[in-house]
Symmetry: C2
Subunit: 165 residues, 2 copies
DNA sequence: GTTATTGCAAACCATTTGCAAGTGT
DNA sequence: ACACTTGCAAATGGTTTGCAATAAC
């Protein structure tokens, strides 16, 4: 129960999903396979609508209905492969909850750029906090808001620029 | 323009809201006052429904409609007094974005409960990371995912329960 | 008196669900 | 054959919005 297998990281998302389905007496259908493949084709965040669009542009496979995409997302969440991280434009936003190292984001509120940074120390602290609360930790998300160097540097000269208009 | 008034922290949420409304040519109605008072009556997280219930139990003031509560929440967000932090049971969850120290959340992915924890050390680390990237920091959000003690404990006996049916 | 605001009911829209037809094992 | 899945269309439910009546300034 407390083993830490080296394999852990080597199991691909699809494999982990298949495993999950098996233990639940569920099936890996072509539709589900399509969705999972698309979900893990990149490490981008996405909302159901985007996923549906992407899946529908795949030529290699049969069409997947909106309902099935929603249902598969739910399964992926249950399997610990996806995590709902936010809400944007009235839609739920998901990100990978597996196979990608924990990291934080510096998000520039001006230009929208995102800088990823590692946060090993923070992960350690989080583990401690979780333990204190008897919380069974699966992952976390750290977003830091502000302005990136580019967007905050020109500050002193901002007025010049504006005056040119 | 670069003054840093000591008053800053002393301004009450209601005052800050009034100020905001004034600059926008909006009015501080009795309804809005009710909602704001209720929002800042405690530091709990809440969703619109809970807020509506709470507001409606106030005897000291006139009834506030569901629409108005929603509209006021939007204003409070715009004014920088509230922040949407999560989604639980299909509802948006809000927390104070003003006059309350930075903290993290343990979010249970099963029951949706949220436990707040302080994170002074983490704030320090974030400041350092931001400095390293010449990032002008304004705030951050730390969400830790997993299962709360209640939701993870019964796991070992889950099967028994199911078999009873 | 104007102009913003409210409450109501209807509209919206992402997500969920019932069900009959279809598919994997 | 059997149980799980799918797609569709309808239902759900939180949130938003149009509008006439009402309140703030």
């Amino acid at each position: 129960m407390s083993e830490r297998l080296a394999v852990e990281v080597a199991v691909s998302p699809t494999e982990k999903f298949t495993e999950f389905l098996l233990t639940k007496g569920k099936r890996l259908t072509q539709e589900r396979k399509n969705v999972v493949d698309e979900v893990f084709a990149s490490h981008q965040h996405f909302d159901p609508d985007q996923l549906i669009n992407h899946v529908s542009t795949r030529k290699d496979a049969r069409r997947v209905s909106r309902s099935t995409v929603y249902r598969t997302i739910a399964l992926l969440e249950e399997a610990g492969l996806l995590r709902k991280v936010a809400r944007a434009n009235g839609r739920d936003v998901y990100e990978h909850d597996y196979g990608y190292p924990q990291h934080g984001h510096l998000i520039c509120q001006k230009c929208g750029s995102m800088i990823e940074f590692s946060e090993e120390t923070i992960s350690k602290i989080i583990e401690k906090v979780a333990a204190e609360h008897e919380f069974r930790l699966t992952g976390h998300r750290l977003e830091v808001y502000g302005n990136c160097s580019k967007c905050s540097r020109p500050m002193q000269r901002r007025h010049d620029k504006l005056n040119f208009i």
